[in-house]
Symmetry: C2
Subunit: 306 residues, 2 copies
């Protein structure tokens, strides 16, 4: 059974909930300006020996916090569900806990509860996280024709760490994603992004989702996508930058008049923000994202176990 068909079955009744209050965005709204998000990491699927236990602890927090921030909220609480075998080593747990605590404290998130269960299968870690904010949440569906398309940070570095031998900078990005949460929450709090999401599945897939939710098209200029240190020496890094994922940077659209203000906020937090394209009206063939003058590279996505 595919994940899509399982999700469809499980959410059969939930479709009656307004799109913006349920399944389909980075988070769901649960109360006045509060959002919740959840993510699972499975040993052998979402991590293997390339990630230490400490990396896994860091990453489960980072990926959830990234979803919360993508709504313009500040993450503030989390619960943890962890399934491990009887023979789990105390060192693994201690190291996982250390990585998790480092990330929780980096973004001022309190672990409020959880559940530990036994399994004879792989280690499975689920984290559910909540976030708050005073302004209205930023959904994927708000992109307007004429908006600029912006991304934070350097795309494709985690992919380089995954595929290239001895690419230390890339591996560091794969193991310890560091989404610029404070900067994005600040940008959200002053109402700059019209639509936003985090980049977990790669620019191509994620931008298409944003276009679909907003019912628009997008034109992207591949040359403008910044090449960070991990891919500086790679001949044709476009596939890494657009078609793998694990970036945990942010994709957002905003009125082009706001560019000055965006640069100002970005500078204050020392975060790179690049305008990589713009929002266009819905193409005849439906919401689409185009690369100017070329096709998108084919998807590089693979689970760790492959």
């Amino acid at each position: 059974m595919t994940e899509e068909s399982i999700i469809k079955e499980l959410t059969l009744q939930c479709r009656k909930a307004p799109l913006q209050n349920g399944i389909g965005d980075d988070c769901a709204l649960i109360a006045d300006q509060q959002v919740v998000s959840t993510d699972t990491m499975v040993e052998g699927v979402h991590f293997d020996d390339r990630l230490s236990a400490e990396d896994v602890g860091w990453k489960i927090v980072a990926v959830n916090a990234s979803d919360i921030a993508a709504m313009g909220r500040a993450p503030n609480w989390a619960t943890l569900n962890i399934s491990v075998s009887e023979s789990i080593k105390p060192e693994w747990i201690a190291s996982f806990a250390r990585g998790m605590r480092m990330a929780l404290s980096t973004w001022s998130i309190v672990l409020v509860g959880g559940d530990v269960v036994r399994t004879n299968g792989p280690i499975i870690i689920s984290m559910t996280m909540g976030g708050i904010g005073r302004t209205k949440p930023i959904w994927r569906s708000g992109a307007e024709i004429g908006n600029g398309v912006f991304v934070t940070g350097n795309l494709g570095e985690a992919a380089a760490g995954f595929f290239e031998k001895n690419n230390e900078e890339g591996l560091r990005r794969l193991r310890r994603p560091r989404p610029p949460i404070e900067m994005i929450v600040n940008l959200g709090s002053i109402g700059i992004p019209t639509a936003m999401m985090d980049l977990s599945d790669g620019l191509h897939k994620d931008l298409l989702r944003l276009c679909e939710a907003s019912d628009v098209g997008a034109y992207i200029d591949a040359d403008v996508i910044h090449k960070g240190p991990a891919i500086a020496n790679i001949k044709d890094p476009l596939a890494y930058q657009t078609s793998f994922g694990e970036d945990y940077e942010f994709l957002f659209t905003a009125n082009p008049d706001m560019e000055q203000l965006i640069r100002q906020v970005a500078r204050r937090y020392r975060v790179r923000v690049t305008q990589i394209g713009k929002v266009i009206s819905t193409p005849k063939e439906g919401p689409r994202a185009y690369l100017r003058g070329m096709d998108w590279p084919k998807s590089l996505f693979q689970h760790f176990s492959k």
Copy 2:
């Protein structure tokens, strides 16, 4: 590694949070009058072929809603994390979803999000649930000397379903726990219980936890504990009633003057409430719960797989 040592390691830093705002009660407080709770069910550990997929879907909602109601809150949103193998049957998912939806709609809870992942291990289902209320939450720590000790419903029936052959009523209780959530939320909203929790591990263990949190003792009169239909023909059902769990009924303490009012609310919701004992001052040997004139039966707790 034991669950206790894993939890200790994971919550190392969380101890600084006030007890009432973190790990150790049924739920954690996340904002003004809002609570969150999480629970995991593992195939072979928390369920086996005795539970249909529909039962599992019902039960994951019921056990979480029970935790929320035990704080005097009404459950209102949930997220679901489910780990299944590639070869999961569509019928299993459809049946699980049906059971989950029936329970969600019974208690007016909205599924707001979730995550489906692949595993080659057993099915693992985690649900995180939130609840709201206008009055202050009811913790385990508020029991006062002289309070009555009350329980809802019939204890020990799930145990009878687990251990006895062909005990259909018991099996029904094991498969479809139906905690009297509306009645307990109502009782909580008018501030009756001084301390409360749900009965998931059996009266003996759970009452001891309440006594420890409140730093009190308790005397229980075994004869008064009601014998429901599933244990009516069993000679000595005390071990089932006190030392197994899976009851998902509520245990609470209240001022004895409130008994009339409690009976009135209980009658309105057609829920059995029984005063089974009273709160006494902390015994010399520390917080303890005693059975009047006898010892507690030894623990019957076993996972499904044993």
